[in-house]
């Protein structure tokens, strides 16, 4: 993976740049000690590391604006950072960039149960948003698996999803407004407690723009009333095709579960070994969760099990208690960690039309043989978002490159069958060069023209999202 050559001029001006940042920010908000900036050298795509020139940690929107304005005037690139949980390298610095972290912006600014929203500073973690409203019977729906650590700022930048999007949508469907600072230091407010924009849907444009259009410091989020209850059922099949057909039949029957999770045999085995969740040793496992009152849950699960029985499942286990529900989810939630016990792994994030599941899984198996690397599949089966986990050995020279090449081939396969490169992790640096596989030159040109509007000098997270050859003339 290539990054642009850092600007020698900026590196030479480091002392002056840091001094200028200290002039506009409190002393504790500017970090330039190389031992401390090292903590910001990577995000969750840990294979790539590069300490930044400096780090700023503003404690308010005004301080964020001051920092951005100063960097803008000095021509210094800025890389925004939430909690650094990006799997795509969205917060990966360059040597000549300043990291702008929102970690100190953690306050709840307003909770309004009558109008069902919460306004928070963007450094607040996803789970703690729900934490702030759950005693009143509400929750914030998007639930990325990193939700204990990940920040709302990063959720907005990447338009994060989660396991329950089939019913509740992703971040963009639950975001009502933002306060944002542009690279030039201008503070703007978009949206709010009312629905839908007056003019263009700038909010929809900001969400998922990977921190390239502005730094979000506050967010107004939709909160929802908690359902009365939820219960999963676990269904095992002896073939991926049959599991896929069962999912299709459930959706066709008009039942809309809140989550349909799919795991294949390598992941089932790893998860079982790691968590002893009691998973059967089958080819494909579905976890389907429904919500509602006791009677509603029974009505939905009745329909689902009736459909599933027609596909001759090897095992069908409806949870009978909170403890059993937790057990059913335990293995799925620990799946990535369990695979990590076996080896290093790379987690992909392509989305496919759900009808192409069997074909795509066969293609992945063929690629696994071709490259000689094992792969396990976790899949949000309701919405087509796949998470193939490719196992490799980071200590073996050449293995990472082999794994990346195989990952690229899997993502190209996702695009070929009608899907896309990334469903919820974002492009970052990881999939940047693959954008040519999904988009034509004009498609990319129009997107880059949008960045020209918000950040004409291309200083905000400039080496991300767009293939370096496509963005070269602008950066």
């Amino acid at each position: 993976m290539q990054m642009p050559t850092p600007s020698a001029d900026i590196l030479a001006r480091k002392t002056e740049i840091v001094a200028c940042l200290r002039q506009v920010l409190p002393a504790s908000a500017v970090i330039d000690d190389p031992f401390e900036t090292k903590a910001y050298e990577c995000d969750a795509l840990a294979a790539y590391r590069c300490p930044p020139l400096a780090v700023v940690l503003p404690a308010s929107t005004e301080e964020t604006a001051a920092a951005l304005k100063a960097c803008h005037e000095m021509g210094v690139p800025v890389v925004p950072r939430g909690s650094g949980t990006s799997l795509a390298g969205g917060a990966l610095p360059t040597e000549d960039s300043v990291i702008l972290g929102v970690a100190r912006l953690t306050q709840v600014l307003e909770t309004d149960y009558e109008n069902r929203f919460i306004r928070v500073q963007s450094g607040r973690t996803n789970l703690s948003v729900t934490g702030a409203v759950e005693t009143n019977g509400f929750f914030y729906a998007p639930d990325p698996s990193s939700q204990l650590a990940c920040a709302i700022a990063g959720n907005i930048a990447m338009n994060s999803g989660g396991a329950h999007c089939l019913k509740y949508g992703v971040t963009t469907n639950n975001l009502l407004g933002v306060k944002m600072v542009t690279m030039a230091g201008e503070i703007i407010e978009i949206g709010g407690a009312h629905l839908d924009a007056a003019g263009y849907d700038l909010l929809g444009l900001i969400c998922g723009s990977e921190g390239q259009l502005g730094v979000v410091t506050e967010a107004t989020l939709r909160i929802l009333a908690k359902p009365e209850g939820a219960r999963p059922v676990l269904i095992g099949f002896d073939s991926n095709e049959v599991a896929g057909a069962c999912v299709a039949d459930i959706i066709r029957a008009g039942v809309l579960p809140v989550a349909i999770e799919f795991m294949d045999r390598p992941v089932i085995r790893a998860a079982e070994k790691f968590t002893h969740a009691g998973y059967p040793d089958v080819e494909a496992l579905l976890i389907i969760e429904v919500e509602g009152s006791e009677a509603e849950i029974a009505e939905q699960l009745g329909k689902i099990t009736e459909i599933a029985q027609k596909h001759n499942p090897v095992e069908l286990r409806e949870s009978q208690s909170a403890e059993e529900s937790a057990n059913i989810w335990k293995g799925r939630k620990a799946a990535f960690g369990a695979m990590g016990q076996i080896n290093d792994y790379m987690c992909l994030d392509g989305t496919i039309p759900v009808s192409k599941l069997p074909e795509t899984l066969r293609g992945i198996t063929a690629l696994s043989k071709q490259y000689g690397l094992d792969v396990g599949n976790v899949f949000h089966a309701g919405d087509g978002n796949m998470h193939p986990l490719i196992l490799y050995d980071a200590n073996k020279p050449g293995d990472l490159e082999l794994c990346e090449a195989m990952g690229a081939d899997i993502l190209k396969l996702c695009v070929e069958v009608g899907g896309c490169l990334t469903g919820e992790h974002g492009v970052g640096v990881e999939k940047r060069e693959l954008m040519h596989a999904q988009f034509g030159a004009d498609d990319l040109e129009v997107q880059m023209a949008v960045k020209d509007v918000f950040d004409p000098k291309w200083l905000l997270n400039p080496a991300k999202v767009f293939p370096l050859d496509a963005s070269e003339g602008r950066r």
């Binding site: 849907d201 008009g254 939905q300």
Partner: protein, 352 residues
Amino acid sequence: MTPATEAELAEIIAQAKTPFEIIGGGTRQIGRVEGTPLHTGGLSGISLYEPEALTLVAQAGTPLAEIEALLADNNQRLPFEPYDLRALQGTTGTPTIGGVVATNASGPRRISAGACRDSLIGVRFVDGLGRIIKNGGRVMKNVTGYDLVKLLAGSHGTLGVLTEVSFKLLPAPQATATVLVGEGEATSATTMAKAMASPYDVSGAAHAGGVTVLRVEGLEGSVRYRSEALATLLGGESGPFDWEAQRDVQAFAGRVGDVWRVSVKPSDGPATAEALRKLGAEEVLFDWAGGLLWVLAEAGSDLRAGLTSGHATLIRGEGQAFPPEPSPLATLSAALRQKFDPRGLLNPGRMG
């Protein structure tokens, strides 16, 4: 002009020297445009429908009725309940799916299923330079590149001419029930907020003429359970209600006066209605749990002065149709429009 293919449309725009008025079915036109009529009706047909994947792709000029009929045959539907303003606006064309997207037309289910922009997962369009652009796709989870899909929804044909649109669908419900609560406007916002704060998954919350109505949809047993629970919670009872009439604002059809569509913070609804009455509003219907006001007003009234939050669009009548944006946003919007349509060919005069 009525191009028959996307390529032909691209050629027409690339060669053009003078502006166009983009027309789908011509049933949702807001504000005035001076330009050569450019019809999208030649780009018609459903390109892909996968019920088991809850996905539909259609050319922009496809009649909405054709899509809704196909979905109904398969017990599915567009989640956002697009409204039909023909009776209200006195138009007679055939509504197209492209027009629905261009105006982000979203009915009462907006509060639970989102707006048109929330179900829209992909677009193809021709920009003001005649370039064919695609964004999003046919899968419901997609964060690859910037989300121009949302930007195009509700852009009223000013950023590009839509040629193809893709949607995420929902199953049609087995059953529907409405709970009616007799009460005045002042307390309706609280009733609707209480319903929305309940776990009963309310998919419509409206108020007019001394009655607040709450809708639940889903499996039969579940609908029975939730409508009973809501009736107990709010002190109402189940009964009939015409949600299609609510959606299409039929109450104001054929009546004299301007029609405004106002989006506010729901709890501001009743106070806003009071303020608007002082400025010429004659009748107010509430939807979206009180956050959407359909207002019939004396012709020529300017209701915008009465808003403390949100925005107002003049749907029928003479005057500034689109709400003005605050300056930093107006500057960004103008700059975006300049990038998508540097020659000012697409619906000049519409949207600011």
